[in-house]
């Protein structure tokens, strides 16, 4: 009888432990839900990526559609090349789409804003491995201040 009681308690203990794991996994944590399913890869070249990081989100109008998977320098002029994975659910972006490095809030993380372009008979959609050519670099505070001071000096 004693041993049966301890069996029940141990069983309960394990169940509570697994429930705790589920609670944390479902309520507190998130897998990178967007890129969990099928994805395709896009590339983009920037002049300056600011403090963009691997795993930074790619957003369209605030909705996360993908994540940055790799950042490297490419070409003979060492331009930053950003590789990103976009969910297969959103595979109809036009080739004229543009990307810009944006900041969430005043002090927030930087992310990529994707601005979908128009679709026309002459314009195709972005496929796996394509490069987005229309990009806007990150605003760097020091450069802004420098430009401001320079323009002040001219007046």
């Amino acid at each position: 009888m004693e041993s049966r009681k301890s069996h029940i308690f141990v069983g309960l203990f394990v169940v509570v432990g697994v429930l705790a794991l589920l609670f944390i996994a479902l309520r507190a944590a998130s897998g990178s839900t967007v890129t969990a399913g099928e994805t395709y890869t896009l590339y983009a070249k920037f002049d300056n990526i600011g403090s963009l990081k691997v795993r930074s989100p790619v957003k369209v109008g605030g909705v996360v559609v993908g994540r940055v998977t790799n950042i490297s320098l490419s070409g003979e002029y060492y331009e930053p090349l950003v590789e990103m994975e976009i969910s297969q659910d959103y595979d109809k972006f036009s080739e004229t789409s543009s990307l810009s490095v944006l900041t969430a809030g005043l002090l927030g993380e930087q992310y990529l804003g994707l601005q979908p372009g128009f679709i026309d008979d002459t314009v195709g959609t972005l496929e796996d491995g394509d490069t987005i050519s229309d990009t806007k670099s990150a605003l760097v505070l020091e450069q802004l201040i420098g430009q401001f001071l320079f323009s002040q000096g001219e007046n």
């Binding site: 309960l12 203990f13 944390i24």
Partner: protein
């Protein structure tokens, strides 16, 4: 010259101790599995080591989560960033406090009990009588306790973190008025199950291994007198706590430092 000899003796003793501990562990866990005989022993130890530690883990988890919520709120509200309370509570619990505090409490609550129990078995020559009856005390006494500690501590750490997050939610959202939706959604976007949850579980597995091992070895090797048992029990808590904190720094540096 005398000092040099003493230094040498200390080092050899330390190495011999590690070797004996390793030999004890290998003797306990390597061998033909006998699930029929060892399963009931394992369950009994799970009850003693895991279930009976549940109350202290749940209560301290709740209070630590509530304190984190309170302290975090007073700092974050200055920057108007009280929505970040959720990730602050969840990340500090999952990455650090869950595994570490659980391991420290476990060393105090269950580790000392394991040492005292095995030490007393040794002092009253129960271990020798087992050997007389051709029962390997390593397989019969040490192995189920080791596995029970190894399995139950990660479960305890998960329960600790879950209760702590709930405690932070109670204080932050219920009392201080952080928006409930923001609390959970900002937490969800900041906590990653692989980086944070899995690394926390790996940490508590390592701590479980080390703490249970130390506790069993100290009991198995203790001087078979009442003073020896008391010394071994103290030494279990001290050694295990230091090992936890030292290992935690190394693991954190490896997991999150790079």
């Amino acid at each position: 010259m005398d000092r040099l000899a003493r230094l040498g003796a200390t080092v050899t003793d330390a190495i011999a101790g590690i070797g004996r501990a390793l030999a004890m562990l290998l003797g306990a866990i390597i061998g033909k599995p006998t699930p029929r005989k060892s399963w009931p022993l394992f369950v009994q130890q799970m009850y003693v080591v895991g279930v009976l530690s549940l109350i202290i883990i749940v209560v301290s988890g709740l209070f630590i989560g509530m304190v984190l919520g309170l302290q975090g709120y007073t700092i974050l509200v200055d920057y108007g960033a009280e929505q970040s309370l959720g990730p602050m509570v969840a990340l500090s619990l999952l990455r650090e406090l869950g595994p570490v505090v659980t391991a420290l409490l476990f060393a105090g609550r269950a580790g000392s009990a394991l040492t005292a129990e095995i030490g007393l078995m040794k002092a009253t020559e129960q271990l020798s009588s087992l050997e007389m009856m051709a029962v390997d005390p390593l397989r019969r006494v040490v192995a189920p306790r080791f596995w029970a500690g190894f399995v139950s501590m990660p479960l305890l750490a998960l329960i600790f973190s879950a209760v702590g997050i709930y405690g932070g939610y109670l204080v932050g959202s219920g009392w201080l008025g952080v928006d409930e939706g923001a609390f959970w959604s900002v937490m969800q976007s900041a906590v990653d199950w692989r980086d944070d949850l899995m690394n926390g579980i790996i940490k508590s597995l390592v701590f479980a291994f080390v703490v249970t091992w130390i506790a069993l070895y100290k009991g198995y090797r203790c001087e078979p007198t009442s003073a020896g048992i008391s010394k071994a029990t103290t030494s279990t808590v001290v050694t295990a706590s230091l090992a936890i904190l030292g290992l935690d720094f190394i693991l954190t540096a490896l997991m999150f430092g790079g």
